[in-house]
Symmetry: C2
Subunit: 367 residues, 2 copies
DNA sequence: AATTGGTTCTGAACCGTTACGGTCCTTTCA
DNA sequence: TGAAAGGACCGTAACGGTTCAGAACCAATT
């Protein structure tokens, strides 16, 4: 129809009004409040709009006037590819997108390139609010978001006290998982965790680095482990903890290898994510170690692939987390005090954890 | 720092300028063109900005003035959940997001709720362009996008002639896959395809519905099959083709069941996606049919899980598709004639296709 | 005839910013 | 010493809408 009409000067509300001999208000009403003008006039407005190739009120101008952008921004993990390959992140994204769809709101993925510390993208985002998902707590993008005068919900982040928050009890959940392993008799363990800070550090982690970790989630999971095993009499400072920057099964495998090289006697390998755990299981198999007979392996998240593998893990409601974040943001009605939502997790005892080889639970009194 | 400063009246560029006794332009320059004013003044501007709690130039007002939104819109499949659970869609999203990140552009997910035909979300999206991914060609949202005076790239969509397009040769790729099966000796086949239109039709598909399918991709894949098998002397109108609205392995399984119930003698089950094919394999196993000995199963897409299962399929570069779409959109420099990009696909012959049971290739001359 | 009430449409005031085309003042250089 | 160049800053005019308090009109009521 009206395809190449916008050659000379793209029609505007004003030009349309002039053409019709009515006021701009009337044209605006024709689009936004049909009950405010007679049906005939409205039809006439819409018809000439089509004739002139007027595409309807400009969204940006409207946003400026109404002070509503009709979108929320999502500040994602720095490296997009890792986000889109992490099942947990995708689940979160889905939940958030669903909440947005319900509210008829757009969802703007804000680029947060870590290399050029380009905070401009945050400043340039025309949104009514932000959701921040699992970024390091010293990320400049996060700081930039907090400076924007819009409601914000942080996810998997420490409670900032000033903005809404949704997350889980990472520390408690991991503590519980650790108790499970301790109950089985494990005392000599190794850990593979995701990256703890913005810098790449593929290798062993000192207790200092654990405490200072900038990723809230990882810090708390490690801390839950440390607490439980310390209580069980294990000297945490002697437990090999290996960090991997990249989050994929290959990292899980190489991390597991590094731990096992250091101490081949460990009876349990605890990973802070299912993806890492799946990689660790590959590495165990490569070494001829049977899971769980020779070694137990655990994960965290409760992703589909882990479930299929019978992984012992902590299931967290990733989709619900996204949805909760969206809801929290979208009904930020009154300036109530910041809300903090903790979602429930569930310890899943699968087929990858058992008593240690030769341990009490599996001692074999055979001939 | 300046947290609850915006109680009275959120500071603006103008108020800041007034406070400082300089012009608005100067304040604007302090943020956007630091070289246009002396460092001292700039510092003074920025300092008082902080003091007054001025968060920097309003993105929406800036967008209005510069006529750049700094974001591109993505019109996704109607049902968000299915999109986020389809590995191919996620790959596309990743590629697109990467292209956007490279360009420092945001990516706005535009809600396209199919129930309420709410095209307003498209009108309300403040974007510099649109990418349309695999929607039915009669989708009102698509029509609304095409009315917007911004560059657009359609994906997995018929060539509209008026906007850029990126896709693959679905028809040719499926023709090639069909040739592979024909070469193995298959003549009695069944098909499970994704939904062909906006209405739900879980069941057999008439040839009419195949031709009239509103999903370009599915239409062409079926058409490639029909052509190849017709050439091989198969009466296509007798081939059982089953459609499934939902796109998941459960649908693949139930679709396969429906086909096999109709004709238990088929030697090959062709699915128009890997996800469906994986479900079909489950159903085959459930019936005690060995793949490929008793029945061949093929997919389309080349997703990871299919690869691990050794699925015979057509691999398409989903990530590259997204990236290509982004690039096309982001350097829509001159009003050149609309571009059309076809990406290469690759026929992957896996372990799920073989000659038909008792067929020439596998005739068993046993003892 | 004046009042009331209900539609329908208008005027003008914003929304917060940047583009554009200056002016003014200080250096620099022949 | 006068002209040219350049740096620093300013005023105005958009950018394209929405909104609210009326105005104009007409019919019905008092």
């Amino acid at each position: 129809m009206a395809r190449s009409m916008h050659v000379r000067r793209p029609a505007t509300l004003a030009s349309l009004a002039a053409e019709l001999g009515v006021s701009r208000t009337t044209v605006s009403n024709a689009y936004n409040r049909p009950d405010q003008l007679s049906p005939e006039l409205r039809r006439r407005v819409l018809d000439t709009a089509r004739r002139l190739g007027y595409p309807g009120p400009d969204p940006v101008a409207r946003s400026l006037r109404t002070r509503k952008a009709g979108a929320v921004g999502l500040l994602l993990t720095e490296n997009l590819s890792y986000a889109f390959r992490d099942p947990a992140a995708i689940g979160f994204l889905e939940g958030l997108a669903l909440a947005c769809e319900d509210a008829g709101t757009g969802l703007l993925l804000v680029p947060a390139n870590p290399e050029r510390e380009d905070v401009a993208s945050v400043h340039r985002a025309g949104v009514d609010g932000f959701v921040v998902y699992s970024v390091p707590d010293d990320d400049p993008h996060l700081a930039a978001v907090l400076e924007r005068p819009v409601p914000t919900v942080v996810c998997d982040q420490p409670d900032l006290g000033t903005v809404d928050r949704v997350g889980i009890d990472d520390r408690g959940a991991m503590y519980e998982l650790a108790q499970h392993l301790i109950g089985l008799g494990h005392r000599r363990i190794g850990v593979v965790c995701m990256r703890l800070a913005r810098d790449r550090n593929d290798g062993f982690v000192t207790p200092d680095r654990q405490h200072a970790a900038h990723f809230h989630v990882q810090r708390n999971r490690l801390s839950g482990l440390a607490e439980a095993f310390s209580e069980a009499g294990v000297d945490w400072s002697q437990v090999p903890v290996v960090e991997r920057f990249d989050h994929n099964t290959a990292s899980g495998a190489s991390g597991a290898a590094q731990v096992l090289d250091r101490d081949p006697q460990i009876t349990a390998l605890i990973c802070t994510s299912d993806v890492l755990a799946l990689g660790a299981m590959t590495e165990a198999a490569r070494r001829g170690l049977r899971v769980p007979h020779d070694i137990s392996v655990t994960g965290f998240d409760g992703i589909r692939a882990g479930e299929e593998a019978g992984l012992t893990t902590v299931r967290q409601p990733v989709l619900e987390k996204g949805r909760a974040a969206g809801k929290l943001l979208l009904d930020a009605n009154e300036r109530s005090r910041p809300r903090s939502v903790n979602l429930a997790t569930e310890l899943i005892i699968g087929k990858t954890s058992a008593g240690p080889r030769g341990g009490a639970e599996e001692r074999w009194f055979g001939p």
